[in-house]
Amino acid sequence: MRTIKFLLQKEFRQIFRNKAMMAIILAVPIVQLLILPLAANYEVKNINIAVVDNDHSEYSQKLASKIIASGYFRLTGFNTSFKDAYKLIEEDKADLILEIPHGFEQNLIKENEQKLFVAVNAINGTKANLGGVYLNTIIKNFNTDIRVQLMAPGKFTIRPTIEITSSNWFNPLLNYHIFMVPGILAILVTLIGGYLSALNIVKEKEIGTIEQINVTPIKKYHFILGKLIPFWILGLIVFTLGLLVSWLVYGIVPIGSIYLLYGFVAIYLLAVLGLGLLISTFCDTQQQAMFIAFFFLMIFILMGGLFTPIDSMPGWAKVITKFNPVSYLIDVMRMIILKGSGLKDVQNHLYTILAFAIILNSWAVWNYKKTS
């Protein structure tokens, strides 16, 4: 116990001595938390649309103004030819072209049917998809309006209609920040914990001070614990700061138990620090440790379900996410903070992370050799 105390004293002194690092460790997460949710906004709005109106009728103009009034679209061109509009797409000034053919109004009334042409710049798949869906919904509404206008009232409501009321739980205003902030907090805790621990032991190797420790009677697990605890405390501090920022800036207060949240993050940090230490024991230079840590964290974060739903992944990818600690944390953060899930709901996640923590740390202790 005394040995660990002295080791901790050494580690803390080294951490606090490096002022630049301390500043980065504490400031960067806060800045990221302020900027990332603003940037990571997948709400699709401000879709740039170019309208080619070959009809110049009352209806075509009504349709155009209905589209603009919806709030999703921004009119960037009111062109006379499709070719001009296409040029806007090539220059990235328009995402969508709506072409209203000549004789739109006349055909609609006389022949009961008329086609509209929509061309979407589909390089960005999500945006193209949603933009197309929005536009179609607006056109459909416009169609219903016209039908109601043209037909005698009453004739239309005789058919049996299913009315759908939809409600959005846990986030009624569909605020995207509320969704992103807990996930980003999870990423920050992972990054700080993973990198700092990965770089730490290997630094002692690179400068050679590890030899001095190796010749002392310090036990292997003492050494690993001495490295683990300071970063564990640091990780919890960063997490607390992050929670404060999300409360002060985004007004997000965890609905579930805060103790449960801390308990989970505490165990999770052990797992992530274990991963870092393990990488550290495998490497010889900081550069190596850095790249290997980057490699794994990158995969973990991309496949963690922060940006894209895990449900939509193919089977083999879903299997990989089972071995991805980050996906558990992101999941649990969202569950506890947004939905108020309790211990019973997250206990499976908890056991899995605990297993990760034990395996990774034991491996790190085992792999750290005092003799070279």
């Binding site: 940037a39 906004n41 401000n46 061309a119 798949g125 850095m290 939509s312 939905k339």
Partner: protein, 368 residues
């Protein structure tokens, strides 16, 4: 010249000796392409839902079957009571609940009107929105069937064409993004770290007192990374053509030219970081947090720039990767020529000159 070649050989030896890092550098783009190409999709499908059916009549069952047949939804088998909707949401098992009230069929055919409820887990707003839309479409479809084949009058139909990417694949968006990211990683981080490392281990002094010009010391450090990056660009392009079936529509020569320009931009950025920092850890964290994250954020390949608040949109203009991303997208996917991207190229060129001037001004040939 002979001196220069010797120095370049020394740097190559450094890079090639570190097998683990080398493996990561070549493996990273491959893994990223695989993940982005095959694992990640913005498409929403296989979402788990529950159906709380009080009506248990023919209409509600027909709708349930229709929902179950759609690829978007997976109906959870367990029969749930309404009290359990809440806990199912909390366990994170379901994304959506559909509630049919009692007498659903009866109301529909006798009063010509019946209502049903959709409850979505909106902690992810986009998924909630998409799923609600899909479900409404299925029900509207059912209603059409119900009303027989008679078509309503005054129909407006739309014919939608998806340009450049008819299958709405994510590949088109991220291949240029992965290119920017990998080049950024190799050039900025590796250059910065390898120069700072010489400072940290004290060998920089030895290099500086040699008769070799200090500026050439730096240039020779950059050469291996330039070569490495070009290899990476080639492998990414080969992967995207042969594995992801994403053809290069524009000129390959132009693409490589622009890539080289961007590589030089990144190298000068790495140089600037190395000039300003003293320890490897600081250099790493600065290039990671200060360079890599903004690249991911602001280049527009993961997050739509046009959705960001105006100040962030202005900041994004200073990120070189954003311009490179636009250039690659234009050449590779749209197949446009130089006349469409000269503006972006000029901006990238300007940023490079600026970075080079600043870092050379700060470059000290004497150590403190």
């Amino acid at each position: 010249m002979k001196q220069f070649i010797t120095f370049v050989r020394k740097e190559f030896a450094h890079v090639l000796r570190d097998r683990k890092t080398l493996l990561i550098l070549f493996g990273l783009p491959v893994v990223q392409i695989m993940i982005f190409g095959f694992a990640l999709t913005n498409e929403v499908k296989n979402s788990k839902i529950i159906i709380v059916d009080y009506a248990k009549d023919i209409t509600s069952q027909e709708i349930t079957v229709k929902i179950g047949a759609s690829k978007y939804f997976e109906i959870e088998k367990s029969v749930l009571t309404p009290e359990r909707i809440n806990s199912a949401f909390k366990e994170g098992k379901i994304k959506l609940a559909v509630v049919f009230p009692e007498n659903f069929s009866h109301d529909l055919f006798h009063q010509n009107k019946a209502s049903m409820q959709i409850i979505a887990d909106a902690s992810d707003p986009n998924i909630a929105n998409t799923l609600t839309n899909y479900l409404s479409a299925i029900i509207a479809d059912y209603q059409m069937q119900l009303n027989g084949s008679q078509l309503p009058p005054y129909r407006i139909t739309t014919e939608t064409r998806m340009l450049y990417n008819p299958q709405l694949k994510g590949v088109h968006n991220f291949v240029p993004g992965v290119m920017a990211l990998v080049l950024m990683l190799v050039c900025v981080m590796m250059t910065a770290i390898s120069i700072v490392k010489e400072k940290e281990t004290g060998t920089m002094e030895i290099l500086l007192v040699s008769p070799f010009k200090p500026i050439l010391v730096i240039i020779s450090k950059a050469v291996p990374y330039l070569v490495l990056s070009l290899v990476n660009v080639t492998s990414i392009l080969l992967l995207s053509v042969f594995v992801l079936d994403l053809p290069i529509n524009g000129s390959i020569l132009l693409l490589f030219g622009e890539s080289t320009l961007f590589i030089i931009t990144c190298l000068s950025l790495g140089l600037l970081i190395s000039v300003k920092t003293q320890s490897q850890q600081t250099a790493m964290l600065i290039s990671l947090m200060g360079m890599l994250l903004p690249t991911i954020l602001f280049s527009g390949f993961m997050f739509p720039v046009e959705n960001m608040p105006v100040p962030l949109q202005i900041i994004s203009n200073a990120i070189p990767a954003k311009w490179f991303y636009i250039i690659v997208k234009s050449i590779m996917i749209k197949g446009l020529g130089f006349s469409f991207i000269w503006k972006e190229t000029a901006i990238l060129f300007g940023i490079t000159i600026f970075l080079l001037v600043v870092s050379l001004k700060n470059f000290k040939i004497r150590l403190a």
